[in-house]
Subunit: 295 residues, 4 copies
């Protein structure tokens, strides 16, 4: 791949895998993480760890980031960082954040001659490791072009979504809304069927053996049927965060989403019941409890 | 096929196709419809029309019915009809009705020695014509066995759901709930993405090109994207009826379904806005209108 | 009062008090109850108990009924009963039932020359005993006029609502919807304030010491603050029944009621958690539990 | 009154009346407003206008503020402002803002030796002019004591809510939630009753002539009945803002509020339909439109 050196900021479950994959491809990856230990643990021939985001970048270079939330991305994008990245620099932002925050960041970047490129990820850590995740991509065309081969090497597909940085982030939120809703609708359908004597395993088969024969309903449905939610691939608390971002986007955009609010409320209920550490498909448990079933 | 003669009651879009398919297989089909013209229009070598449900059946024989709602099924199952069907008779009930009505009917049938077999249909008229619809099946085992070859000849798959007549009807309602919810969630996701500059066609691709690559999201999603909802395959008013049955089942079963109620309310809103004659994917229009978009 | 003899059907908490008050006024009250013991327990100088609704009435006379639900009212209004009440007879129906059931009943009554007068009660047993409850009144004018003095003697106020039997029943449901919603909104407001350190007692004062200084918010608010809900004046299960009737009326009338559905769902949740025997203000407990508070 | 001079920041409909009332009491009021014209228009013997919040205050003095939203309050509380107010200074914050913002502000104030006192207002401009509004009060005890006589002179009642600045703001949000919900519940109840032939005027009487005989249901109910909502005393857009703050508080506090979300969604729907400039009781129009009624 073209760039000899790339900064990678944020080494959570997702970021870690992408940094390793870049290194595997022979790129020199300069990593930073808020908790330094996670950065140091990755150090090897092609990975160097630094103590601040600004030390990770070169002027006019490329920085990738994958962070927990809006606040974390805003904290990384300090004046020092943007100055160090400087004119011609590109920040490829892979986090799931508010489109409005992205727009604000994009304007701040532009003040330093840096391009903000939105590239949120569709896929969970297991996908990322296998390079089978997808990217949504939007931002200034020239910088998107520069990002394209990097994203293609890291994942299986890139969906171009135009020039507005908010677009890719909004699409990512809309997408996660569909997943949270699919999880919740299966939970409700199973609870309803079960009270009339239809086993949830059978109800799931009815779906995936017919018109729902796709990975989303197969995978999450199976997790729900097996109540296999204690070892999270994507935490319920992150699902609540994402549904909160969806609600915020709907608030600004003035899009009434009764189903969206019902799903949001269901996640809130699960959070209030202490389920934040489960996989987000674990919201099924709060649906069952609501129906009076004991765990 | 085994039985030489079968009664078919109810010749709507679905029933009509099944009666024709039975006749095509060489069975003598005796048809009845509330509006006689629809019955008479089908008369041919293997199809005979009669003026009442009881005239359509033979003692100990088999009657199939596919009717609009609970009231229509209850009206067909008069004392005269059950008496005519008599001991050893089997009524295969394909309508989408309340599990509680089914249980009540089942007990009434038993009083005449007739078995009530629940066999609701998964699929729309186009599927039915092509014999690719599926059946959910529950009821007394011996009569289910008798129903099995008939259903297999009419459709592509039969899902056995045990001995309780309510089971197949409940599963059918839970299934239709998942479809109405999938339609509504796409409508909301598209409206949300669109306000941030993501075209609904693109948002749909993101889904069906990745983890939603299944007929349900492909088919209904395409209809929504194209706003191809004026020529209904399944009317919005029937969607409202089905979501009402879902709400009723949840009421009796004490299963709180916030998402279910949100979808129900969305269909109600569409009904109040005069959209009852659209396809049920047309609920998308009320979602868009809610977001302030003009048609 | 004018009529020398009145039939009273249904001796629950409400009916019992009205029958006693009529007797106190010197009317001969002929009572019937499904469970005969309750009728027999009332027998005294002015109260006679009979074994069936039809035995309680005289031709062209007046029957009052106060029953649990639609089914109970329909069961009382048998052919025998309507025949016995006969031409010129008036049935004053005080139960909280569906306006659609009332219309159907009204037509059946008319077939026997009997007038159906809708007179549902605003007030709980303690009000009824003290003759301070109110009546909503609708039906054929001449029979409403005949009902008027009886209702005035039994309660404190009569609200005339026109000639349509459905009107008074619909108004009663709309009214009970406002109460269930007021109870739920206090429960939510208290739970919210409490998590920010505002005691529910104080939050309640803020309301009733300012613009909510009325019996409804004073009374139910106090019950909620004191968690005084174990000794029901109106059972939570009846609240669920009434909210179900509200939902049914909204369904037929095509009135989207998102708040109504949210309240309905909250009562459903309480029912699923086994709270049916509490006072309906006890729905507060499910709201608190949802917020993660232990009882 | 004790203090000879008070700063007043924010001269919207509410602030303007309070500044005038203070001046009437003989206090020298130094006013500031973001749009200077509004400040200059008030200048008189006891009112002086300045160009910035910091010019309005004296070291160790008292500043009152009544502003549109969190951002406006945060903008006023600049370092310069807090430095000018200095040790012993008290900022009495009357705006309806997020409890979390208030806590953050309180900590920032403390850094300059300034006390943040929360004193949000219950009441609309007409109340404020007549000094009949109420104040909720929380914050450091000594400063609350200093605020008390000022608030008592400006309004009719002060509710003490303890030492935490968040408390008064949370109580204010909970209170406004109850009003928005009361408005919406009347709207729904009227729409429901009307479709069964009960006039909304009559339905309103049923409420306020019985257990809802309090200013809130009398006043807002009358506005709804008369559709007198074009001349806002409190704008629908502010209602949406407040319901958004309620939703945010519920989000952080993990208090599931299905009714709250339903009311929030109803206001969102009204905003999307372009009703932001109506009085917040105008939400009734979106409820009626939803039920298919033409304006």
């Amino acid at each position: 791949m073209d760039p000899q050196q790339i900064a990678y900021l944020g080494l959570g479950m997702m970021g870690r895998e992408m940094a390793l994959n870049l290194a595997e491809d022979g790129v020199l990856v300069v990593v930073w993480n808020r908790t330094p230990a996670k950065a140091e643990a990755l150090v090897c021939e092609n990975i160097r760890a630094v103590a601040s985001p600004q030390e990770a970048v070169t002027s006019g270079g490329i920085a990738l980031s994958c962070l927990a939330n809006d606040e974390a991305v805003e904290a990384v994008c300090s004046d020092d960082f943007l100055q160090a990245l400087g004119p011609g620099g590109v920040h490829i932002s892979m986090s799931t954040i508010s489109p409005t925050t992205a727009e604000k960041l994009s304007r701040r970047h532009a003040g330093y001659g840096v391009d903000y490129v939105a590239a949120p990820v569709l896929g969970r850590p297991d996908f990322v490791k296998a390079r089978s995740q997808r990217f949504l991509l939007s931002g200034p065309p020239a910088s998107c072009e520069r990002a394209q081969p990097i994203l293609e090497s890291l994942g299986s597909q890139v969906f171009p979504l135009g020039e507005e940085p908010r677009a890719a982030h909004a699409a990512k939120l809309a997408f996660n809304y569909t997943i949270a809703t699919s999880i919740t609708l299966m939970s409700e359908a199973f609870a309803l069927a079960e009270k009339s004597g239809v086993d949830r395993k059978v109800m799931h088969s009815l779906m995936v053996d017919t018109v729902y024969n796709c990975p989303l309903f197969q995978g999450y449905g199976q997790q729900i049927v097996d109540d296999n939610v204690d070892d999270p691939l994507f935490k319920l608390s992150l699902g609540y965060k994402d549904m909160s971002l969806v609600a915020d986007l709907a608030r600004e955009s003035l899009v009434p989403m009764p189903v969206g609010l019902a799903v949001y409320e269901t996640y809130q209920r699960a959070m209030a019941a202490g389920m934040q550490g489960l996989d987000w498909s674990g919201v099924n448990r709060i649906v069952r409890q609501g129906a009076g079933e004991k765990e």
